[in-house]
């Protein structure tokens, strides 16, 4: 009996000491929040589709910047008129009827969903989340000042700050919440489109 007791105790102590690493099931990749037009790689234009920090044209405060190429489903934001994207030369080889039936390039962005997922993720600690929120608010303040014409900033400066902040968020997420990191990467340009347009930015403020 004593032997049995000792054995049970030993087994349970051993079990208690073993730190079970919880293997969380890797969820399926989330639905792409910001969808890009499905164009074959060969059909890509020579110039990059995504605006880079360098060549970003800074619209003068008050001036109307070009409408973003993506339709944004931000709360209250009216979708800009979707420009009928002409297929590149390689894509032109397709039958014209198929090309005409193709819906215009549209990307949707669910900011509320992203916000909720960021709030809920366990990949980022509470203090880190509060710090990030502070940095996001600082960036929004800089945009606000820029659109009021008070700041000496350029749109390139803002884009640099935005990219840096995105990198910080992605660095924190990429190892432990890859689906969310992917969703943010997909939405990156769409979010920039919202911020870089004074009209859509104003709707975010409401």
């Amino acid at each position: 009996m004593r032997v049995a007791y000792a054995a049970v105790l030993l087994v349970m102590l051993t079990a208690g000491c073993v730190r079970a690493t919880s293997v969380t099931p890797v969820p399926e990749p989330p639905q792409v929040v910001a969808t890009q037009p499905a164009t074959p790689p060969a059909a890509k234009p020579a110039a990059p589709a995504t605006p880079q920090p360098g060549p970003v044209k800074a619209p003068a405060p008050g001036a109307k910047p070009p409408a973003p190429a993506t339709v944004l489903a931000a709360p209250g934001a009216k979708p800009p008129a979707a420009a009928a994207a002409k297929p590149p030369a390689a894509a032109a080889a397709k039958p014209p009827a198929a090309a005409a039936a193709k819906p215009p390039a549209v990307a949707t962005l669910d900011l509320n969903s992203l916000e909720e997922r960021l709030k809920g993720t366990k990949a980022i600690g509470l203090f880190t989340k509060i710090t990030l929120r502070g940095q996001v608010n600082d960036l929004l303040d800089r945009f606000r000042e820029y659109y009021k014409g008070k700041a000496k900033l350029t749109m390139t400066d803002l884009r640099r700050s935005y990219d840096l902040l995105m990198m910080k968020v992605l660095t924190l997420l990429q190892d432990e919440d890859q689906p969310l990191a992917s969703a943010i990467v997909s939405s990156r340009e769409a979010i920039w489109g919202l911020l870089a347009n004074p009209e859509t930015f104003a709707t975010l403020e409401e």
């Binding site: 000491c17 600690g125 710090t131 924190l172």
Partner: protein, 86 residues
């Protein structure tokens, strides 16, 4: 039967005693990781937080691997502040 129940109860107590510190360790590790990220986000050198002392609620003293020491706290405006300590 009675002896078996007693043995089982004693075993459970022993397991709980072992498991509780392990849970506390995990929480402390999570806090260290959180503070490491906060310090890095503020652009301050640290490397990795190796020790944390709770000064008050949402107020911590963090010691870094590279020897730097910081106070990390939540101010009245709800912002996380990182101050260098000597």
């Amino acid at each position: 039967m009675n002896r078996l129940s007693k043995a089982l109860a004693q075993s459970l107590v022993a397991v709980a005693l072992v498991a509780a510190p392990s849970f506390a360790d995990e929480q402390e590790e999570a806090l260290k990781k959180d503070l490491t990220a906060v310090i890095a986000l503020n652009g301050l050198p640290c490397g990795q937080v190796i020790a944390v002392t709770v000064l008050a609620e949402s107020d911590y003293a963090a010691s870094c691997k590279d020897g730097n020491k910081y106070r990390v706290y939540l101010n009245a405006e709800g912002r996380v502040i990182v101050e260098t300590r000597k």
